[in-house]
């Protein structure tokens, strides 16, 4: 609406004959219709200095003041500027702050936040070893020198031929997939489409101005479009002049190729092996899999009491290859439940078998080692609060204190008193528990849980106890009786078992005898039958001999 105002937002004017375009990669480039030249560098009149302010027009507010001054200072610039009027300006990251109806919010102090672009894929540039061509998420690309650690959006001149070669190769590669002429038809028109649209978008807001100011502008733009359409028809030109466009499919193919590489790398690693084992373990039988899983649980020393969720959170077992022998988490949980149930039962049994050790023994041993009359109970407690016996819930703190005080007071007693006390203690123990066969390492709990035993220092105490034990008599029969009773019980059980076994054998023997007898009987019966049959047969065989013999004498 206000041409003068609008003009202030312009970048420095282009030289006549140049037009500005936006490449699909996001760069603006400039094209000269006459010379068919294209460049990334903005061709500005050499006399025009305002490149610097134009490059950093942060706010339209400042531009408003600054640019006209500069323009006014140089009439040439102003003229050139006027000739470029209405020319679209594509400065990435730069808002065309406008008061026009179509562009609200132009008065932003900062440029609008651009979406974050990220490098997506990279290609080494052949022939220029440290240089890498990096493609970004939004399809832009830049050259990166890995040794110098520098990168340029504008691709350096010396790299251009190599990159063009790369691009050509890629297009050819793509053309192999589709029919080559189709590619030419489908790919090329897609190239100018984007810039055209963009330009139109830009132009739409200032369409009036174009009309008002210059006819040239419209023509030039038309020229630019026309020339571009021409260019699209010949591939060579496009490749030589403008940045070549790559479709999404191209990049996708590239990424896929890179992905394949990564996969191969991954395959070589251990992780894949583990995974593969899990998948390939189909022939593993169900029970084997379950056992394997249980083995794993045992190997990791997993607390059978802890819940499944915490187990998974800790993630110790998840990395193990045996974790995957079972296909589903449900199955795993089931096996874990089974395992934990069994394990808890085992633990319970184990604990029952273990004889219960008096917590006092550990505490007294600690007292003997650590307690000194220099420490009050509170100090002692604070100093050794980390010890297991100090944390043991089985003993009350009160008791611990009591024992501590007693022990400290006993430390002050003379050695002889302690010894006599110990002697009294040992004498109080019945002979069944303490006798000449017991050793200092296996004293009865009645002795070990008494402070009188612990208050003497280890060496003299052991000597004293040894001497005392040596003077004792042999264990009375009562202990033997106990043992005998136990033996008897076991013997009885054994006897019973033997009896049972014997009864079983007897029964078997009886059965066999019976069988034998029956067989005998059968045989006997058969024999008898046979004899009878024979007799009958004999009876049937009546010969005349007998009769004749009878008759003959009578006749005679």
């Amino acid at each position: 609406m206000q041409p003068a105002l609008k003009s202030t937002y312009k970048a420095p004017p282009l030289l006549p004959g140049w037009t500005e375009h936006k490449a699909p990669t996001g760069h603006t480039y400039y094209y000269n219709v006459e010379t068919k030249e294209s460049t990334y560098k903005r061709p500005v009149a050499t006399a025009a200095p305002p490149t610097a302010p134009a490059a950093s027009p942060a706010s339209s507010f400042w531009q408003h003041q600054a640019v006209p001054q500069l323009n006014l200072s140089d009439p040439n610039v102003a003229n050139a500027f006027m000739s470029q009027y209405g020319q679209p300006q594509h400065q990435p990251g730069q808002q065309r702050g406008g008061h026009g109806p179509g562009q609200r919010g132009g008065f932003q102090a900062r440029p609008k936040p651009q979406p974050v672009d990220k490098p997506r894929s990279k290609v080494a540039i052949p022939g220029h070893e440290p240089w890498i061509l990096v493609y970004t998420k939004y399809g832009r690309r830049f050259a990166y020198n890995s040794t110098k650690n520098t990168s340029y959006w504008r691709i350096p001149e010396k790299l251009m031929p190599a990159i063009l070669e790369l691009d050509k190769a890629r297009i050819r590669q793509k053309a192999e997939g589709i029919e080559s002429d189709q590619v030419a038809a489908s790919e090329e028109p897609s190239r100018p489409a984007a810039p055209e649209q963009q330009q139109k978008d830009y132009d739409s807001s200032e369409y009036e101005e174009v009309e008002v100011t210059d006819d040239e502008d419209g023509e030039r733009e038309d020229d630019g479009h026309a020339s571009k359409r021409q260019r699209t028809e010949d591939l060579e030109d496009a490749e030589n002049n403008g940045p070549v466009e790559f479709t999404e499919a191209d990049i996708a193919a590239q990424l896929a190729a890179m992905g394949a590489d990564y996969n191969e790398d991954y395959e070589m690693g251990e992780g894949y092996d583990d995974y593969g084992q899990g998948e390939a373990a189909a022939p593993l039988s169900e029970t084997d899999a379950r056992e394997l899983f249980k083995d794993m649980l045992s190997d990791f020393n997993i607390n059978p009491y802890s819940p499944w969720d915490i187990l998974l959170e800790q993630g110790k077992i998840v990395d193990d290859p045996r974790y995957t022998v079972l296909p589903t988490t449900k199955a795993r949980k089931e096996v874990w439940e089974e395992w934990s149930r069994v394990k808890i039962q085992e633990l319970k049994e184990l604990r029952q078998k273990q004889e219960k050790k008096d917590p006092r023994i550990a505490y007294f041993a600690m007292l003997q080692e650590k307690a000194t009359p220099k420490l009050y109970w509170a100090e002692f407690k604070r100093k050794f609060k980390r010890e297991d016996c100090m944390k043991d819930v089985k003993m009350a703190d009160k008791d611990r204190e009591k024992w501590y005080r007693e022990y400290i007071s006993r430390l002050k007693l003379p050695q002889s008193a302690l010894k006599s006390d110990l002697k009294k203690l040992l004498e109080s123990v019945p002979l069944s528990q303490l006798h000449n066969r017991s050793s200092t390492s296996s004293l009865p709990p009645a002795v070990l849980t008494d402070l009188r035993y612990w208050s003497l220092d280890t060496k003299s105490r052991d000597e004293f106890v040894e001497g005392y034990i040596a003077g004792l008599g042999p264990p009375p029969d009562s202990t033997g009786q106990q043992g005998q009773e136990e033996d008897e019980a076991t013997a009885k059980a054994k006897e019973e078992r033997r009896k049972r076994e014997k009864a079983l054998q007897d029964r078997e023997r009886a059965v066999q005898e019976e069988k034998h007898r029956q067989e005998k009987k059968l045989q006997f019966e058969r024999a008898r039958l046979r004899e009878e049959e024979r007799e009958l047969e004999r009876a049937m065989q009546v010969s005349k001999k007998g009769l004749q013999s009878q008759l003959a004498p009578q006749d005679a």
Partner: protein
């Protein structure tokens, strides 16, 4: 209010507590974290979800230890309930048919709800109508606790 006894003068927990002490500690730490987590950037009704979930997990843990694995003694179980390690009322519901997986007691409360009915998470998944079967209930974030799920 009765005086709070110091830990040194408290009665020791029953046997077997040391086995599960570590896991209970993990739960209590989680609970503390959940209680202290900032709730300004989440919807108001979601602020208590993690607390409900952790409480449910802990109750379930103790319930399973006692009723299914039979790993802890009756004394210890009672002691745990008495000391609020598990929600006894919730466990009481789990013993009833149809409530085996109940997420929280609020979800079976029919009073003062819009339709005088239980929570959406009590509806069996097979009976859910509409496309969005993946719902989280408002009270505790449960995704479905019907016995058939």
């Amino acid at each position: 209010m009765p005086p709070i006894r110091p830990s040194s003068k408290r009665k020791p927990p029953p046997d077997g507590f040391s086995d599960i002490e570590e896991d209970l500690l993990i739960f209590s730490n989680k609970m503390k974290d959940a209680q202290n987590a900032p709730s300004d950037n989440i919807p108001k009704h979601q602020a208590q979800w993690p607390i409900f979930q952790i409480s449910h997990q802990r109750s379930r843990y103790i319930y399973e230890l006692y009723y299914e694995k039979e790993a802890i003694s009756r004394q210890l179980y009672d002691w745990l309930l008495k000391n609020n390690y598990a929600d006894a009322a919730l466990i009481a519901k789990w013993k009833k048919q149809g409530y085996e997986k109940l997420c929280c007691l609020r979800c079976i409360q029919t009073k003062e709800t819009n339709f005088n009915s239980t929570c959406v998470c009590r509806v069996p998944r097979a009976q859910m109508k509409g496309e969005d079967r993946e719902v989280q209930c408002v009270s505790c974030g449960c995704r479905g606790c019907a016995s058939t799920d």
